[in-house]
Amino acid sequence: MSVDAATVKRIGRLARIRVEENEVEKYQGEINAILGFVEQLDEVDVTGVEPMTSVTPMQLRRRDDVVTDGGYPEKVVANAPLTEDNFFMVPKVIE
């Protein structure tokens, strides 16, 4: 399989990475080189094989459903580029 220019732009939108018009061709070439490389997986007979979900045979542990942490909003937002009253600030999203 290979991707065309429109698909490259669509992937960019899904990934939330701006793809400028003059970058499309480069991305397309690189993505298609990698897709060409992984194509050899089609040779493998995977009939009846379970997809791996965990490399160690273990159940994910669960913890008690109780509050164990928190109460420090100032630390949560300490690294944000823009905050006000311990809220993250973003451009207006609702008109």
Binding site: A15, I17, A33, I34, V38, V76, N79, P81
Partner: protein, 494 residues
């Protein structure tokens, strides 16, 4: 006095215990070495001088008054991927500009608990995506090794290139590193150092910047097998904060180092004999087999038939997981923000500017293989192939193999700015051909320097072990180290 930075971690520990020198003197010696070398090698992206000297003073008190930990006063370098409270943590990326976490990763917290001293944060490929340390926002790390009679700059490998270069050039006693597809073992092989990726689940991933969560594991890079064992003992351990951390007792790995290989069965996988493999790598592998036999091990030819599919499957699984993990870098919660005409514009511009080319390429691939209509064809298929890769190893181990011996890398270190590699991403990816299977199966793997190529550059061998049997890897790794008996010190030019 001898140059304190030239001591192994084990020797430095003994010197501190014997009061031959203080932790403050040892730390001071490393800080001076870093000041002199870093402008040329670019191994550190942040030097925590004041914190290092404060930590060392505390260690000196403990060494004098009792209560010293197993790493008391040992100066370490920390890969920039580990969250360190109040200290530069950027995964060598522009998008994490200015990020100083409010927390400490479990692995580094374990090291400080045991008395270690932090010298600073080490350079790496951006978000651990790379095999040459050239994708770092801070520029490439330069390998302390050079080819005989050449001044050309070589890469230290990646992604833990800063860790490997710093250990090799005596800029820390040992370093933390991480390995998703070979990022500990390949740079160790390129710099004549020892690197071990433990079994998935041995070291907590909590507080380590995530790349591909089902593959990422922390481990040490050190100058000797014994030093790596001492480091891993401190780094390991169960952590309730990582749901994939395994609740198993941590052995004293250093106690296994001199155990030898007598009576062990060492598997030699025929699929690792790749077309076009350089004669030097082939000869090194043969030499390693001879060393094992001389020390009483039995050699067994084995087959791992799905080996060739590990790298292509990795280049689906790892980017897919990365595209999910790196979705959090959106210009809102931390780091860089580029403003746009609306919020989507802000996201897109921030991520286009904040991520380097290799990271953007992998996020695009990962997004594509997870997108509607392609998920089964790519991602599910790759995870099925992964099951087969793991089964290959399980069958070999069930058939009586204790460990598997392979080359660590298909070549010695290559040049900074290598044209073939930069023109074709797949060529760069082939660096991990011998190491990536181990991540796909969650197994432990160690790289040990074993010889030099015709240009005098270090070459490494890799040993792959059963789940949670790192001890056998340290024992067999030590046999390689002792049998090679080569001084892997680079000639100092910096």
């Amino acid at each position: 006095m001898t140059d304190l930075t030239k001591l192994t971690l084990a020797a430095a520990r003994k010197g501190l215990a014997d009061k031959a020198f203080s932790a403050t003197e040892l730390t001071g010696a490393y800080l001076s070495a870093i000041d002199a070398a870093n402008p040329k090698l670019n191994a550190y992206v942040a030097i925590t001088r004041e914190k290092a000297l404060e930590d060392a003073a505390v260690s000196d008190k403990r060494l004098a008054n009792g209560g010293a930990g197993p790493l008391e006063g040992i100066p370490l370098g920390i890969k920039d991927l580990f969250g360190t409270q109040g200290v530069h943590t950027q995964a060598a990326s522009h998008i994490l500009d200015g990020f100083k976490p409010e927390y400490e990763s479990t692995v580094t917290a374990n090291l400080w608990r045991d008395g270690a001293v932090m010298l600073g944060k080490l350079n790496m490929d951006e978000f651990a995506m790379g095999s040459s340390n050239e994708t770092s926002y801070y520029g490439p790390v330069v390998n302390p090794w050079r080819s005989n009679g050449s001044n050309a700059q070589l890469v230290p490998g990646g992604s833990s290139g800063g860790s490997a270069a710093a250990v090799s050039a005596w800029l820390c006693a040992a370093a933390t590193a991480t390995d998703t597809g070979g990022s500990i073992r390949q740079p160790a092989a390129f710099t004549g150092t020892v690197g071990i990726k433990p079994t998935y689940g041995r070291c907590s991933r909590w507080g380590v910047v995530a790349f591909a969560s089902s593959l990422d594991q922390a481990g040490p890079i050190a100058r000797t097998v014994e030093d790596a064992a001492i480091m891993l003992t401190s780094m390991s351990g169960f952590d309730a904060k990582d749901s994939t951390s395994v609740d198993l007792a941590v052995p004293d790995f250093a106690a296994a180092v001199e155990r030898g290989v007598k009576g062990l069965t060492i598997g030699i996988p025929r699929e690792y004999r790749m077309d076009g493999m350089p004669d030097e790598i082939e000869a090194l592998w043969k030499q390693g087999i001879d060393w094992m036999v001389a020390e009483g091990a039995t050699i067994k030819d084995i087959s791992l038939p799905h080996t060739k599919y590990a790298l292509p499957a990795y280049y689906i699984v790892a980017p897919a997981e990365a595209s999910s993990n790196l979705a959090r870098y959106d210009g809102v919660k931390y780091g860089l923000r580029v403003t746009g005409k609306d919020i989507t514009d802000m996201y897109e511009l921030t991520r286009a500017k904040g991520f380097g080319a290799e990271v953007r390429r992998r996020l695009m691939i990962g997004t594509y293989v997870l997108s509607a209509g392609y998920y089964d064809a790519y991602y599910v298929r790759a995870q099925k192939v992964r099951t087969l890769i793991k089964r290959d190893f399980e069958l070999a181990f069930a058939d009586g193999v204790d460990a598997i011996l392979t080359p660590a890398t298909p070549s010695a270190a290559f040049g900074v700015g290598d044209e073939d590699m930069s023109a074709d991403p797949v060529k760069m990816y082939l660096n991990d051909i011998f190491t990536v299977t181990v991540n796909m199966a969650g197994l432990p793997g160690i790289a040990v320097p074993a010889g030099k190529d015709a240009a005098g550059l270090p070459l490494g061998l890799q040993l792959i072990g059963k789940p949670f049997d790192e001890e056998t890897l340290f024992a067999a790794g030590r046999v390689i180290e002792r049998s090679a008996a080569i001084d892997f010190s680079p000639a100092k030019w910096w």
